[in-house]
């Protein structure tokens, strides 16, 4: 994938050069100080080396001006690093709104990936160049971390919650995918590849794939079947007087809770409400929902979430272009 003499990994995402530029800036400052101070140490050690055993050098107490100088200059340089680093960080961690979601479940020792249209991949992720993707990730067991060096991005994958990571690939190629958080015996085997393709090749790859996973259909459709099979629709039917709050059109908006506070309906909130319904109760509803803990796999929860997300466009048809 890369030559044995490379000093930098390939740059294959929109963020890669931003990260490398910042790294080179700090690297050169670091080299300047390392070489400068080391040279001073060696120079002083040679120039002022002890010539006689009873030599007593002139004594110097210190110098306030110098102390201030060598505190303030590093501080200023580091504040530049801080602000620049924070800017790059925010670009790395805040997903653009128009990114296509992809769902990732990590487990000892594999990556299970579901695309919204129902296609599944294991330890492989196929994406086209020039499109933004947002990975919504969780773990079935221990901590993992999704790391693609060529994209200069990484995010921990934590059981019990969702984390996310986004990227836009810029160069076709096959890139390393690593688990970066130690996860047990085959940690170093929890690797895979990210295949970045031209839009045309990607379309060809799509058509060559089975149209749907074993469960059949797009994730939202599978989720809709689950929604009925688990009898979610009994209470969340959206009609006035229903036992559960209406779900259609709520995703991405805030709802008022029983204690008066507000919460934005996102993947994490829906997950929590399925597994621990009483944690954040919507105002005006009774705490009657049973927990679905242990009855749904992480992938099924994600399918339900995509279904609930899709309800927005079905109900609020006026918003459709």
């Amino acid at each position: 994938m890369s030559s044995p003499f490379a000093l930098f990994p390939e740059r294959a995402s929109t963020m890669a050069w931003s990260v490398d530029a910042l790294f080179l800036f700090i690297l050169w400052i670091s080299i300047f100080f390392t070489v400068g101070i080391s040279a001073a140490v060696v120079y002083f050690a040679i120039k002022y080396r002890r010539k006689h055993d009873d030599e007593v050098p002139v004594q110097i107490e210190g110098h306030l001006g110098l102390e201030i100088l060598w505190s303030v200059i590093p501080l200023i340089l580091m504040m530049v690093m801080f602000f620049w680093g924070t800017k790059v960080f925010l670009q790395l961690v805040v997903s653009p709104a128009d990114a296509t979601p992809i769902y990732v479940v990590g487990k000892q020792w594999m990556w299970k990936i579901q695309h919204p249209d129902g296609r599944r991949e294991i330890n492989e992720l196929h994406v086209p160049v020039g499109e933004k993707f947002r990975l919504i990730m969780t773990s079935e067991d221990v901590l993992h971390s999704f790391f693609v060096p060529a994209f200069r991005t990484k995010m921990d994958v934590v059981p019990g919650r969702y984390s996310s990571l986004w990227f836009e690939a810029t160069r076709e190629g096959v890139y390393h995918l690593f688990c970066a958080e130690y996860c047990g015996t085959s940690h170093s085997g929890m690797t895979g590849r990210v295949v970045v393709m031209s839009p045309a090749d990607y379309a060809k790859w799509l058509s060559g794939q089975a149209p749907a996973g074993p469960a059949g259909g797009a994730m939202a459709d599978v989720g809709a079947q689950l929604f009925t099979a688990k009898a979610c629709n009994t209470c969340h039917d959206g009609r006035p007087g229903a036992l559960g709050p209406p779900l259609a059109g709520t995703f991405g908006h805030s709802v008022t809770l029983a204690d008066g506070s507000e919460v934005v309906v996102d993947e994490g909130y829906i997950r929590e409400s399925i597994l621990n319904p009483q944690a954040k109760l919507v105002r005006g509803f009774q705490p009657v929902m049973p927990t679905y803990k242990g009855q749904l796999s992480e992938e099924e929860i994600l399918q339900l979430i995509t279904h609930i997300k899709s309800l927005k466009s079905v109900e609020a048809s006026g918003e459709k272009p």
Binding site: A6, I37, I60, L92
Partner: protein, 537 residues
């Protein structure tokens, strides 16, 4: 011990019985018992490192199994951090030197001092028991829920071992704090104290305040592991990131427990081997305290990608930059101390120069990692591994070896071979850089840490690193040989072989059981070169 008339009676020859060592309350003897213990632990940790560097010389996993590899790096980390780096400078050199440096007969609580050694040995014994009976594979960081629920190794015993060992740190810290407050000789004001004493003071503060949190953390881990009460495992209703906060609330300040005493040693060595009061003494002293205080508020920089809030990440990044300033201040002041001084090229000074180079690289790569936008890419890669080895092995170990060479004549009453000491300092410096410099490149290329097998294009750099490790290994073995040799064949050491100004150099080498034969009265600051006379009246 009662024959005070005999000038040849010293703390070593006053009683040769085993019992007199095992029940000693003499800080000097306890220092030597720590020296023996940490040397054994260092060899154990080093053998593990040697084995996994062998494994990593090929891209595929072949020498040992993946399980064994994971146990090797775990025990390497646990042994080196808890049983070598943390006790090395404070418990060995600190125990021996601190009372001498402030003109005291002993530490404030000599019996507590002995107890802390026994507590340390019990914790170490339990950890070695775990190593011999199946090992541990959680990584030294014990991250949950792997450690609490999934690992099949004996996490419970290891947690108990670490829990117990922590108390030896707490006891030593308490002892040193009280000793520095209450046992200084008349005239030894705070601003006359040697900078090593300042550094030990700052270190002891951290030991006393942070170590209890480690005890709580591993206790909660043990409770979850043993009873299934949900604390950290989300499947039981716990929070795995909470563990990381609690663990690093101790373990980041613990980095300063390791490096601050070494910095203190470096200050002593620079002063003696340049015959110069440390430039900006008060700034160097204050920077130790600043590091100890700010160091408590930077733990979250280990959690930038843990799903911790983005705003918390910003605060922790900012504070991490801030804690780099006092380290920079120290480095500049040491360099300035050399200006127009009289630099001796004796072996301890070579360790100082090695320390300066390695600490600069370690510190500045720490600045790289404190930068939020860069840590995303480099977190959990070999870049981090290389960075903390530059600090904890490059920095701490160079300071420890420099200090050991400096005080060896005082501790043993013998001089070692200066030529071999220079060879060793050079080998350690070259071997260290050859081992860890390639790991910076590997890290930026994306090689994750704790990988048993890796993509074949990274083999060249890994082979370089393993080759460096063997040079480093030789560099560490040589001192064991010539220092032991010196015990029998070394020239007897004079009271003050280096022309040092500390109070420890005003008494015989090795010192008498009660250190000072006459009451000590201090009339001038540390490092009173060029003003005639020694540091006491």
């Amino acid at each position: 011990m009662k024959e005070e008339s005999a000038a040849t009676v010293n703390y070593l020859n006053c009683d040769y019985s085993i019992r007199s060592w095992l029940l000693t309350v003499d800080h000097k003897r306890i220092g030597i018992m720590y020296l023996l213990a940490v040397t054994v632990f260092f060899l154990i940790g080093g053998i593990m490192a040697t084995l996994f560097r062998f494994e990593l010389s090929t891209a595929a996993g072949d020498l040992v199994t993946a399980e064994t590899y994971n146990k090797l790096f775990t025990l390497h980390g646990v042994v080196m951090v808890f049983f070598f780096l943390i006790p090395s400078v404070p418990a060995v050199l600190g125990n021996f030197v601190l009372p001498l440096a402030i003109g005291a007969k002993d530490v404030a609580f000599p019996k507590l001092n002995l107890l802390s050694w026994y507590v340390f040995m019990i914790g170490g014994g339990i950890t070695l028991f775990v190593a011999l009976t199946g090992g541990l594979d959680t990584g030294w960081t014990f991250y949950t829920p792997y450690s609490s629920t999934y690992a099949t190794t004996d996490v419970l015993s290891a947690a108990i071992g670490v829990f117990i060992t922590g108390f030896s740190s707490i006891l030593t810290g308490l002892n040193f704090l009280v000793t520095i407050h209450k046992m200084r000789a008349p005239g030894m004001t705070w601003m006359r104290m040697p900078l090593f004493v300042w550094a030990l003071y700052a270190t002891s503060l951290i030991m006393v305040l942070a170590t209890p949190v480690l005890a709580i953390t591993v206790a909660l881990l043990a409770v979850e592991r043993a009873t299934g009460i949900g604390i950290f495992d989300p499947a039981l209703g716990g929070d795995p990131v909470l563990f990381q906060h609690m663990f690093w609330f101790y373990s980041h300040p613990a980095v300063y427990i390791m490096i601050l005493p070494s910095m203190g040693v470096i200050s002593e060595l620079v002063a003696t081997f340049c015959r110069r009061r440390i430039f900006g003494y008060s700034f160097v002293a204050a920077s130790s305290i600043a590091i100890a205080v700010i160091g408590f508020f930077v733990w979250g920089h280990h959690l930038f990608l843990s799903t911790q809030s983005v705003y918390a990440g910003m605060v922790f990044s900012f504070l991490s930059f801030l804690v780099a300033v006092p380290s920079a201040v120290k480095t500049f002041n040491w360099t300035a101390t050399m200006y127009k001084s009289s630099v001796s090229w004796q072996s301890p000074m070579l360790y100082v120069m090695g320390f300066m180079g390695l600490f600069l690289v370690g510190g500045l790569t720490g600045v790289v990692l404190a930068t939020l936008g860069l840590d995303v890419h480099m977190h959990d890669t070999y870049f981090v591994v290389a960075h903390f080895h530059y600090i904890m092995v490059g920095g701490v170990l160079m300071g420890y070896l420099g200090g050991l060479h400096y005080w060896w004549p005082k501790i043993t009453g013998r001089m070692y071979s200066e030529a071999w000491a220079k060879v060793s300092a050079l080998l350690v410096f070259v071997g260290f850089n050859l081992t860890f410099m390639p790991q910076f490149i590997l890290g930026y290329l994306g090689m994750p840490r704790r990988y048993y097998a890796y993509p074949p294009e990274w083999q060249t750099l890994n082979v370089l690193s393993s080759a460096g490790a063997s040079v480093l290994g030789v560099g560490y073995l040589i001192p064991v040989i010539y220092l032991l040799w010196s015990l029998r064949h070394g020239k007897p050491a004079p009271a003050n072989p280096w022309g040092g100004k500390g109070l420890e150099w005003t008494i015989a080498s090795p010192p008498t059981p009660h250190n000072f034969e006459k009451p000590v009265i201090v009339t001038e600051g540390a490092y009173a070169y060029g003003e005639g006379g020694h540091g006491h009246g």
